[in-house]
Structures are given as structure tokens and as C-alpha cells.
């Protein structure tokens, strides 16, 4: 076997979430050069937005802060945020990529996180970046900005500029690792879920942000419609997933995600009745089954096996969920104060219309073994699986072997 160890590679890692960061660090540790491309303002991906992650039920600080800091301090890793792959070409055994890098309105090298821009902004467009960013800075959403420049005037370090040009970065690469993660897919076309018909019918990620300790409600469990404490919440599994009409795949993480959310609601506000309507309760993974069984001295989450046929707002308030409870065989119509829909997660690459900017995808939108990938773009996977796949992807890109 050819000794590959002396050849240092230059690798493009697309995606700065858990998978991308893990792959980048493994490559950097091996002495290879990494260009890490992230579409958002900062590294961290979906896990950074989570209030808590399973199975530890802790916040995202421990898994992410250290790893992000190591990425940012690594001389081998060049991070491109607010960036996207414009084109990717194969040139023999090498790859040529063109990255479009947008510059943030607030220069993170100069932002001291003082927040004067937020106080000055009449539209509430300046906001702190995510909770555990290193370093913490402010970001300004250009799309919602009214161009008044009030923020630029008060910024003590002149960190704000609206006229920064996009940069085109051309890269000559040995390998590409796809780690671009997932997005939620709109459930609007699936009328039976009622998403969009009532403020208290939310997707799981909307609920996660709404109930977050560091969010606007400081961790309180409240209805979105009137900020009252809900009496009951239904968590609906496989919404949009395992469904040939929308997403045929199983999103893998939703059963545990719903259990995590529902159990947390019970611990925070024990009087709220939490029901999970599931098809198969997929608790594959270390200690996940035991996690699902936790019932907090008899006041646990109620697990009901059945799929809803209709979810709709009731005229006098509340939301009706019509479903069959397969353990009794009876059809029920129950009223819930809130409904959380789980399942509608899809690889971000599947929604990328330009084939020149993404690898070959299989029928369900996941990256085929012809390219090196890890995390959700390869297969729906949780943090642990994504981290394993990321290290495996790092090895394959170092050795130049495919999946």
C-alpha cells in the first residue's frame, strides 16, 4: 500500500456544524489544510441552536465551545462564514472550487459585543450571535435592515460597514467533504398537520427556540398565542417523514428529540400533560431506550402509538388532534393547547437546485458513496453518529478513498 502519510492534503469541508467541525479538527490534527465553508454567521450549525441536546439534557456549550475555539485557533483551518460553494469541478484527481464569501456587516474582528447597535436600531435587526459563540459578537441581518446607519454611528470600534463586497475565493483542492447538515422542510403542503393555521402548531425546532432557557421566554413553557401556560402539548412524530408524499426517509433524530423536549416540559412544568403520538419509537443508541422510559415518579410523558389524521384549530381556542390510539383501537379527537410537529428534516443539499454546486445525490436526496460526506447529508444521524462519520470522512479524504 502506498505510504500516504507524507502527503499533506488540502480539503474543503462544506458545512460548519458538528460534523464539519469534527472533520476539520481531525484533518488539522493530521497536519492537513482545511477550508471550512459555512453558510451562517458562525460555526455550530443546528446543534448550536438547540436549547438542550440528548442524551445529556445539557446545553450546547460543552460539545461546541471547545471544538469551535480549537477550529478558530487552528492555523491549519481557514474558516469562511457567510459563504457558499458556487461551483465545484473535478479536475483529474483534484477539485477546483469557487466559494462566494460574503462579509458580515459587523466585522467580528472589531466587534466588542457592547450592543450599542442593538439599542440604536429602530427595527430590531441587530442582535447578538448565538448563545455560546466564541467570541460573542453582534450580527445585523442585512435583508431586514432599513439602511438608516444608526448602528454604524454609535459603534465605538467602527466595526459596522454596509458596503463590504462579496469575495470570490478560488480553491485548488485534494478532496471535498460534504457536511452541510439539515434544514426543516415546510409542512404547509400537508394540510392534515395544520402547520400555519394556528400559532400554537409549531415545528420541533420552532418549539425548541420558543422554550429555550436563553430565549425570549427564559425557559418558561408558554403558548405562543397568548403566552399562557399550556395545559397540554401533543408531540406528533413522523410529520412529513416516512411519507412518500414528502420525505420517504426516517429522520432518525426526532423520536429522541421529542422525548427530550416532552420530558423537559414535564420537569419544568409538571402539570402540563405531554403526549407523544408515534409510529415506531426509534430509540437506537446508547442509553436511548432507558431515556425514553424515564417517567419522573409516575408523572411522565404519555406515549401513544398512533398517527393523526387531522390537526386543526378549534373555534373557541385550542387545537384538535384526531388520531387512532392503536392500543385501544379507538379513534379519538382530543383537544391540546399546543402541537409540536417532528420529522420534517431534509439534507440541505437536497434543496440545492444547482447540480454544479453539490455532489451527486441519491433518490432521497442524500449524498451517494461516490463522494465523501458525513452527518445528515449522508444519512439522517444524531450528534454521536455524525461525529463518527466525520472522523471516518476525514480518514477517507486523507487516504483519497471514497465511501
Amino acid at each position: 500500500m502506498q505510504n500516504m502519510t507524507n502527503q499533506k492534503k488540502t480539503v474543503l469541508v462544506v458545512g460548519g456544524g458538528v460534523a464539519g467541525i469534527s472533520a476539520a479538527l481531525d484533518l488539522a490534527a493530521g497536519g492537513h489544510r482545511v477550508h471550512l465553508v459555512e453558510r451562517g454567521h458562525d460555526l455550530g450549525g443546528q446543534v448550536a441552536k438547540l436549547d438542550k441536546f440528548y442524551p445529556t439534557d445539557h446545553c450546547a456549550f460543552c460539545p461546541l465551545w471547545t471544538e469551535i475555539r480549537r477550529c478558530k485557533e487552528s492555523e491549519a483551518v481557514t474558516i469562511h462564514t457567510l459563504s457558499r460553494v458556487e461551483t465545484l469541478e473535478q479536475a483529474g484527481v483534484r477539485h477546483r472550487a469557487v466559494i462566494i464569501e460574503s462579509a458580515p456587516v459587523v466585522d467580528p474582528a472589531l466587534c466588542i459585543n457592547c450592543g450599542r447597535c442593538e439599542s440604536a436600531c429602530p427595527k430590531g435587526v441587530a442582535r447578538p450571535i448565538w448563545e455560546h459563540a466564541y467570541p460573542p459578537v453582534y450580527v445585523i441581518d442585512r435583508d431586514r435592515c432599513g439602511d438608516c446607519s444608526a448602528c454604524a454611528e454609535v459603534c465605538p470600534t467602527k466595526a459596522i460597514a454596509f458596503d463590504r463586497e462579496e469575495r470570490k475565493v478560488e480553491l485548488d483542492l485534494d478532496e471535498v467533504v460534504w457536511a452541510a447538515g439539515f434544514d426543516e422542510v415546510s409542512l404547509a403542503p400537508m394540510k392534515e398537520y395544520g402547520w400555519g393555521t394556528h400559532p400554537d402548531i409549531l415545528t420541533s425546532l420552532e418549539f425548541e427556540a420558543w422554550k429555550a432557557e436563553a430565549g425570549e421566554n427564559r425557559g418558561k413553557i408558554l403558548r405562543r398565542s397568548d403566552r399562557a401556560v399550556p395545559r397540554s402539548i401533543a408531540f406528533i412524530q413522523c410529520a412529513g417523514a416516512r411519507d412518500l408524499r414528502l420525505l420517504p426517509h426516517c429522520s432518525a433524530v426526532c423520536c429522541m428529540h421529542a422525548l427530550k423536549q416532552a420530558q423537559w416540559v414535564k420537569r419544568r412544568t409538571p402539570e402540563v400533560d405531554c403526549v407523544i403520538l408515534y409510529t415506531d419509537l426509534r430509540t437506537v443508541g446508547r442509553d436511548y431506550y432507558e431515556y425514553a422510559l424515564r417517567d419522573f415518579d409516575g408523572n411522565g410523558v404519555r406515549l401513544v402509538r398512533g398517527r393523526p389524521s387531522m390537526i386543526y384549530p378549534l373555534p373557541r381556542g385550542g387545537i384538535a388532534v384526531r388520531y387512532e390510539d392503536t392500543s385501544t383501537g379507538k379513534r379519538e379527537i382530543r383537544q391540546f393547547d399546543m402541537v409540536v410537529l417532528n420529522g420534517n428534516l431534509q439534507s440541505t443539499l437536497a434543496r440545492q437546485p444547482d447540480p454544479g454546486a453539490r455532489p451527486d445525490l441519491g433518490g432521497e436526496g442524500f449524498v451517494t458513496p461516490a463522494s465523501i460526506s458525513c452527518g445528515f447529508v449522508m444519512e439522517p444521524a444524531d450528534v454521536t453518529e455524525s461525529a463518527i462519520q466525520a472522523s471516518s470522512a476525514a480518514l477517507r479524504s486523507i487516504l483519497g478513498t471514497k465511501g
Binding site: H132, P248, T384, I388, L395
Partner: protein
């Protein structure tokens, strides 16, 4: 002792707008420990670090105190910028005057100023009294030991070899491959087990970087990260190795369903492995087959899902339908565990092939019918609410993977914890193949039940992590912190004061403390590369012999004394 240079940051008014920096400056200047105090508009803007360093050099001071913002943000970047300029990071301390003071006491500027003065005094006490931990450079042996040559171990060994490291691959069997060698079709690609492993086995054979020891066990492992002294017991006697990293890939066992569902009593009740053998020997001798899931799993005794049994039944059920003309197959389950895209598609494939799926509840398991030979299974179909009897002459029981007791014994040898089910836990979900013991990695089913594809991926992950570790060649004990590069120091026992009570040995989460006999006494010795400076040993030491030099008793005591000192 060298004096201290103090830089106070106004932070464009964010700090100075609340805290009276002038009064603090005057106060600090009268402290005999302080050489100079500078109040600056900023410390973190481009050029600031260079200017600060120029001042430090000009005054020839050895320690720096910053009064700045939070250690989770730009202040940390200021420290690193100073390090880039050549300042020793351990001599730079900072008090959080912004997030920790000005920003939370905005309505009480006098109180905030007093607090800032106290906190700065406390940091001065720390700088004056801290000592440096003696570092130790660890030369890392450039070879690795891989225990277990199943898919995970083979994958790890091949990965290591390809990355340029010598791998010693040990297995208690005669040849690499493990259980997978006996499987004629592996889901979901339906490739034969040996074929799946063929490339890896081929690579390991005759590979100068992989040395395979068949019919060999690990007799003992001593030492720690970078330098493990291993003793192997093989057919030719014992072999000694010195390796820098150990990968544990010893696999798991399958539970035998003794006494369950008529196994051992009725003919035609078999395990999945026995099903495999029937396929291997030609057509299975049956007219139909029923598979029962979660046999001995997801119950009180084994409250876990074994990951592979659902796809395994799908595979074998489809095979029955394909290979036995006219055969029917039914899977009796409590949940079908096929997460993801590939496995869910595999499930749909089974449905299209006509495999029947019947759900039962844990409290109402199926009952086997038959006299001498299985004739059918009666099951309460939890979806339809009806009891059904399915005629069958073959009943296949899906049993879980269970931990191999030898894995647990090895884990104890390697000083890593085993979980309640006997599997070996990783240190944290984001580091899924690393353990609490640096240099020891875990992969495959010894870690947790997984498929062979997952085991191979974990082996690759372990190879990358182990290779990164070995590739450092030498590393300092101070670099081996829980947060890389940010270790406080390491604990150290004063041999003269230590009474050998052993409290530290018991409490250390990393087994970093050992009692060593010197003469007729025992004294504690800290293995520096293992110590993470958590301080557990310090707090249980009855007489203060154990200390972390950077935060020794004098430091803490002085900080406590200065915390509420009057500020004039």
C-alpha cells in the same frame, strides 16, 4: 520576584462608564507588587497587543494583570495575542470587569468600583503566590495496539497502517474477521460477510505495518497515554510490546434465548445465527418463517435496543421469501427500528416483498404452539386488537448483543469505566470513540451494539484519533488537558508531608494518583499526563500535601483574605 504590569481597559466606556478606573489606578500604583498601571481605551483592537508587549518589555516585568472583559470572549483573545508576542501565557491573569462587574452593577458604581478593586487585588495575590507546575515531556511510542480483529478492529488497524503507524492486531481467534465471517449476507447491501471484510483482511495480510497475533489475549497493560507496556499471551508464549495508543475492539456476544419461546425444547425454534447457517448450507428447510423481535431485549433485565436485530430480521425474512418458493415470512415486533434513509428503504423493500409485520406489546408477548416441533405462533395483534395464530415450522428469535465479560476485564485493565450493561462508554457524545483514559480508544460492539458498517466507520474514526495522538510524537503533560492547551497545571504531592492516606487515589476520576513505597512509607505520586487539575485530590488531602502549584493553598488563602478588604 518580578513585578506586575497592570493594563486596565476602559472598553470605550463600557467599563470606565461604571467603574472609577482612575481611583483603581491610583490604588494599584501604591501596591508594592505593581510596577505600572496603564488605563487604555481598548486592549483588543489591532495593534494593542503589540503596544502592550512593548511596554512589558520596556519595563522588564514578568507578570501581567488585565482588567478587561469576560474570559469567554475577547479577553481570551487578548491573552492569546500577548502569547503570540512572546509573553508566557501562564503569567497573564485577568479580572472580568465587564460582564462580571460593570455590566451587572451598573446601578451601583461605587459598589462596582469596590468589587473591581477587590477582584484585581485577588488576581495580584494569585500572580504573587502561584507557582508553575513542572512539566513532563512524554515521548509517544509510535505503535498502536488493536485488541480484536473483527470489522471494527480490522478497520482501525488498516487505518492506522495507512496513516503510517505500526499496528499490533490481537485476536483470540485464529484469523481476523470475527463474527462477520459467519454471515453470508449482510444488510443492507446484501453482500456476504467475508466479502465485505475481504478488502480489509487482504490489506492486513502481509502488510509490514500490521502484525497479527492469532489465538492471543492481552495479559496485562501498564502505563498511560503515549507509553503503554503490554504483555500478550499467545500460543508461543508471552510477548511484550510498548505502544502509544490502545484501540479496544473486542466485540460482543449474542444472547442465547435459553428457555425463551421454546428454544431448546421445540424443534424449529432457532436463533438468527442458526438461521444464517441454514442459508449458508443451501436452502433453509422450512415452509414459512416467523421472526420474533426483542427476545430478551428492551426488558427489565436488558433495557436497551440492540440496533441490528430489526434490519437482521428484514434481511432474513426477505431471503426466505426469495429463496423458498411459496414461503411466507412474518415479523412480530414492538417497534421496527430502521432509522435513517437506507434502513427505512430496506423496510419498505421488505413490505413490498410481502413480508408480514405484526406488532405486539411488551406485556402481551406471543405464545409458541407445538409439540416437539414448532407448529405456530399465537400473537395478540396490538393494532387490530385481534388474536391471530400464524402457522409456521420455523421460528427465528432475535436476541440482543450482550457485552462480552472479557471486554469488561480489559476495560478494568485499561482503567476505563464500563456502563450498567457491560458496554464500554466513551468520554462524551461528541468524542464517541475516545475514553476517559487518554490514548485508549473504543470502537465496535464492545462500545455499543452497532451494525458492521457502523463498526467499520468507528474503526476508521478510532484510527484517525489514535493516529492524531501518535503523530504528535512528543507531547507535554500540560498539553493533555480536558480542554486542549488550557490545562491549569497538575497536582503534586509534597513527599515530605504526604502521609500516604490514599484519599487522593480513591477520589481521582482519572486514576492519576498512585501510592508509591519509599523506604517504610507510602507517598502519593501523581501521573502528570493523566491529571486534569480538577482539584478533587487537593480538597480531600488531610494535611495540604497535595496541591496544584498554579492555585495552591497560599493563592486561595490570599484571594479569600483580599476578597472583602476595605477599599479606601
Amino acid at each position: 520576584m518580578t513585578k506586575i504590569g497592570v493594563f486596565l481597559c476602559n472598553c470605550f466606556g463600557e467599563i470606565g462608564g461604571v467603574i472609577d478606573l482612575e481611583s483603581i489606578r491610583k490604588r494599584l500604583e501604591s501596591d508594592p507588587a505593581v510596577d505600572f498601571v496603564t488605563v487604555r481605551e481598548s486592549l483588543c483592537m489591532p495593534g494593542d497587543a503589540a503596544e502592550a508587549h512593548a511596554r512589558i518589555r520596556e519595563r522588564g516585568i514578568g507578570r501581567v494583570l488585565l482588567g478587561a472583559c469576560s474570559p469567554y470572549g475577547r479577553m481570551e483573545m487578548v491573552r492569546l495575542a500577548l502569547v503570540k508576542e512572546g509573553v508566557d501565557v501562564r503569567t497573564v491573569r485577568a479580572a472580568d470587569l465587564r460582564e462580571g462587574c460593570a455590566w451587572v452593577h451598573g446601578k451601583d458604581p461605587a459598589g462596582a468600583t469596590r468589587k473591581a478593586a477587590n477582584q484585581l487585588d485577588m488576581e495580584i495575590a494569585l500572580l504573587q503566590n502561584m507557582r508553575g507546575s513542572k512539566d513532563v515531556a512524554v515521548g509517544i511510542q509510535q505503535e498502536a495496539l488493536v485488541i480484536g480483529a473483527g470489522p471494527a478492529g480490522l478497520s482501525a488497524a488498516c487505518g492506522l497502517a495507512r496513516l503510517g503507524f505500526q499496528a499490533h492486531l490481537v485476536d483470540r481467534g485464529t484469523a481476523p474477521g470475527g463474527m462477520l465471517n459467519m454471515i453470508t449476507r449482510v444488510y443492507p447491501t446484501d453482500v456476504a460477510g467475508p466479502e465485505k471484510l475481504a478488502a480489509l483482511v487482504e490489506e492486513s495480510r502481509g502488510n509490514p505495518r500490521i502484525r497479527f497475533y492469532g489465538k492471543t489475549k492481552v495479559a496485562s497493560v501498564k502505563g498511560y497515554a503515549g507509553d503503554f507496556k503490554v504483555s500478550l499471551a499467545g500460543p508461543e508464549g508471552s510477548t511484550s510490546l510498548r505502544v502509544g495508543a490502545v484501540v479496544l475492539a473486542t466485540g460482543a456476544r449474542i444472547l442465547f434465548p435459553q428457555g425463551l419461546y421454546g428454544y431448546g425444547k421445540l424443534k424449529g425454534v432457532i436463533t438468527q445465527m442458526e438461521m444464517e447457517r441454514q442459508f449458508a448450507s443451501g436452502k433453509p428447510a422450512c415452509r414459512s418463517a416467523v421472526f420474533i423481535q426483542c427476545v430478551g431485549a428492551r426488558n427489565a433485565e436488558r433495557p436497551y435496543c440492540s440496533t441490528i436485530c430489526c434490519p437482521l430480521s428484514l434481511k432474513n425474512a426477505m431471503r426466505i421469501v426469495d429463496e423458498v418458493p411459496g414461503a411466507k415470512a412474518a415479523v412480530l415486533h414492538r417497534d421496527i427500528m430502521t432509522p435513517g434513509s437506507v434502513l427505512e428503504a430496506y423496510y419498505r423493500k421488505a413490505l413490498h416483498k410481502g413480508v408480514q409485520f405484526i406488532r405486539f406489546d411488551a406485556d402481551r408477548p406471543p405464545e409458541v404452539r407445538g409439540d416437539g416441533q414448532v407448529s405456530g405462533v399465537e400473537v395478540f395483534d396490538a393494532i387490530s386488537g385481534k388474536t391471530r395464530t400464524i402457522e409456521t415450522d420455523l421460528l427465528v428469535l432475535s436476541t440482543p448483543l450482550v457485552a462480552d465479560p472479557e471486554s469488561a476485564a480489559l476495560a478494568r485493565m485499561l482503567e476505563i469505566p464500563v456502563d450498567g450493561h457491560g458496554f464500554i462508554a466513551e468520554v462524551y457524545p461528541v468524542h464517541p470513540v475516545e475514553t476517559r483514559n487518554d490514548g485508549v480508544f473504543i470502537c465496535g460492539t464492545a462500545r455499543w451494539p452497532v451494525s458492521s458498517d457502523q463498526a467499520i466507520a468507528q474503526g476508521e474514526a478510532a484510527a484517525v484519533k489514535a493516529a492524531s495522538f501518535l503523530g504528535r510524537q512528543t507531547v507535554s503533560a500540560l498539553a493533555m488537558g480536558r480542554v486542549p492547551g488550557a490545562k491549569l497545571g497538575h497536582a503534586e504531592a509534597d513527599a515530605g508531608a504526604c502521609t500516604g492516606c490514599g484519599n487522593c487515589v480513591a477520589v481521582c476520576p482519572y486514576r492519576a494518583c498512585r501510592l508509591q513505597r519509599t523506604g517504610n512509607r507510602s507517598v502519593s505520586r501523581v501521573i502528570k499526563v493523566r491529571c486534569k487539575a480538577c482539584g478533587s485530590c487537593v480538597s480531600v488531602c488531610p494535611n495540604g500535601a497535595m496541591q496544584i502549584p498554579e492555585q495552591n493553598y497560599r493563592v486561595t488563602g490570599e484571594m479569600i483574605r483580599r476578597a472583602f478588604r476595605e477599599v479606601r
